[in-house]
Symmetry: C2
Subunit: 357 residues, 2 copies
């Protein structure tokens, strides 16, 4: 890997569908959600270190700066940047691009969320290497995950023509939003769609110039902060709240400037307890998957997921595909099928017991 | 009511199907299981006080003596008797009979478990008054609850001929064990069966003499303890472990010595979380029944029972007839249909974590 590859890790997002594990004050990237013994942000850095060496730039919320710094002793604290407030992914990744553009004009950056899971890191790195090579030619490159099911919880990328000088890499025809089940099925059947995993690889200048086309003020503001870091607190609240997909990826794709490297390395955004269940090694005896100390779990005729994080014994009798999450101050009981609806509990608590959210 | 009516309250039984609420060290009779603000043993005494005045005799395990004494300030501590060890109901109730036989030769005693629930105390007392009147004539009298469903969790009493001088009171043909669902349905359809609620009313001498017929040594041992209370610790471990149903009620019924007063006062032995659920006032909004602080419960599309006793918020999403019990050191999740199988968890813990049972 070229020494000019930088790994950008935006560490944000509330993860409300993983309540009560994930909280505002302790979002999911700070947790070990797979039983690997490392938190999601730690495994993200582990996965990228063979490519990036010590060239990491982490962007996180000011309230998480101390926890992120403590969890990542291998990352230079000078390159852990605190957002004064959450302003969505374009501001976070764009700030990283602006900082790197000044610091290392030869850089290629790859942005990878701090809270995703990859089961084949070698395959992942092969894709990123290829993406970086394409990015050097001036493309904004995304990595499109080969769908293993017609998921309705992810956006998709539609593949266009193969790039002239990069076999196996396609131009992106279009980014599409989370589809209905019917549409997702047609996407998967067509073979022309990949999951949009939110991974973007590009030269920082390319990314900022692509942003400048629709929104020159936004790009200029980011470059201004990079030139005068003291102005961060003042300028930040004026930046648009917009996702990088909408701000850059979609218009750039329409302009034929985005390429997609297909990936098959086992990826999940750990969006809810249903997906989390599938990431945990199943109980060979057929009981529920356990995230935590298995000696705390007792089950009879039960499947699903038990997360004993409160130090208490958790006993489950006669329930299939149940999800039980025990923490120090809250217990959640739901099913894999209803895992998305955990948001409703968090919304309720936000009014009545915000200290629990 | 005659001043010679004594209420005997055997307070024993582990209540393992109500784990983790009920524990060896804190069995169900010490808990408020209906949200009434009084524990089961307190409501038992409340229910009987209009009949018994201050004539209570409570028999409990030595390990529960302090808790029972503290919960029942209205009962003379001299009449709260500690069993040195659990020896089943015949020893407990027989000891009470022997003590009362010496203390008050004119007494009629009625024995009522400390952990049952009665929803119509006036109707209950009417039945006990009638039972006491029949008992004065030398009968062993039980109260047979009119079945509201073909329950398989209770034993039944088969009614025989009406007693000559007591209209509405029948001789007992037979006590029968917990039936299959099919047999229970035929029992209820016949109209000739009542639930055996384990309530027995008799002169103490009648009860002991009925015991002496099949087991003269047992009756003599109990009378010996009453005559020389210092011998309790020595003699107690030699007594047979047998239920009063088998030791006295069944053979006495076969000999035509048992009468049954039918009762319709709403009775339950609170045997498991399924029956407990039906005793709690339902949520008018259609959510789960709650035993505890309702401000700790959040639910979406859920029914069943939530018991928030651990001080934590308990959130339930998308489960019908679920049972969630949160305590300080253990969480149980099951269904009303599987409530009986909680025993299996307790059996497992008895080996692996006895401190939790």
């Amino acid at each position: 890997m070229s020494e000019s590859f930088w790994a950008v890790v935006p560490a944000g997002g509330a993860g409300t569908r993983l309540w009560p594990l994930s909280r505002r004050a302790s979002p999911k990237f700070l947790h070990d959600l797979t039983g690997a013994g490392r938190t999601l942000i730690q495994t993200t850095v582990d996965r990228l270190a063979p490519l990036a060496g010590d060239r990491f730039l982490v962007v996180t919320g000011a309230t998480h700066l101390a926890a992120v710094t403590a969890q990542l002793p291998e990352v230079d604290p000078a390159w852990i940047v605190a957002e004064p407030s959450p302003r969505d992914s374009m501001a976070a990744i764009g700030l990283a691009a602006a900082l790197l553009e000044r610091h290392d004009p030869e850089a290629v950056m790859g942005s990878f969320a701090a809270d995703h899971v990859v089961t084949d890191p070698d395959g992942f790195r092969d894709c990123v290497r290829l993406a970086a090579a394409v990015a050097r030619d001036g493309w904004l490159v995304t990595i499109g995950i080969e769908p293993t099911q017609p998921a309705t919880g992810f956006g998709y990328v539609e593949l266009g023509a193969e790039l002239p000088h990069h076999p196996g890499v396609a131009a992106v025809r279009e980014f599409v939003e989370k589809p209905s089940a019917e549409v997702a099925t047609s996407y998967v059947a067509s073979g022309r769609y990949r999951w949009n995993a939110g991974m973007f690889v590009a030269r920082p200048s390319v990314l900022l110039d692509l942003l400048a086309t629709p929104d020159p003020g936004f790009a200029a503001a980011l470059r201004g902060i990079a030139a005068a870091p003291d102005t961060l607190a003042e300028v930040w609240p004026t930046l648009p709240r917009i996702a990088i997909d909408h701000a850059v990826a979609e218009p750039a794709a329409a302009a034929g400037r985005v390429a997609v490297v297909p990936g098959t390395f086992g990826w999940d955004d750990v969006g809810d307890f249903a997906s989390l269940t599938s990431l945990i090694i199943p109980d060979p005896a057929g009981g529920p998957a356990i995230l935590g100390d298995p000696t705390l779990v007792r089950s009879v005729d039960a499947t699903g997921l038990v997360v004993p994080q409160g130090g208490r014994v958790v006993a489950v009798v006669g329930l299939d595909d149940v999800v039980v999450v025990d923490t120090g101050d809250a217990v959640l009981v739901t099913t894999r099928a209803r895992a998305q609806d955990v948001r409703a509990i968090v919304a309720d608590l936000a009014d009545s017991a915000p200290e629990l959210t």
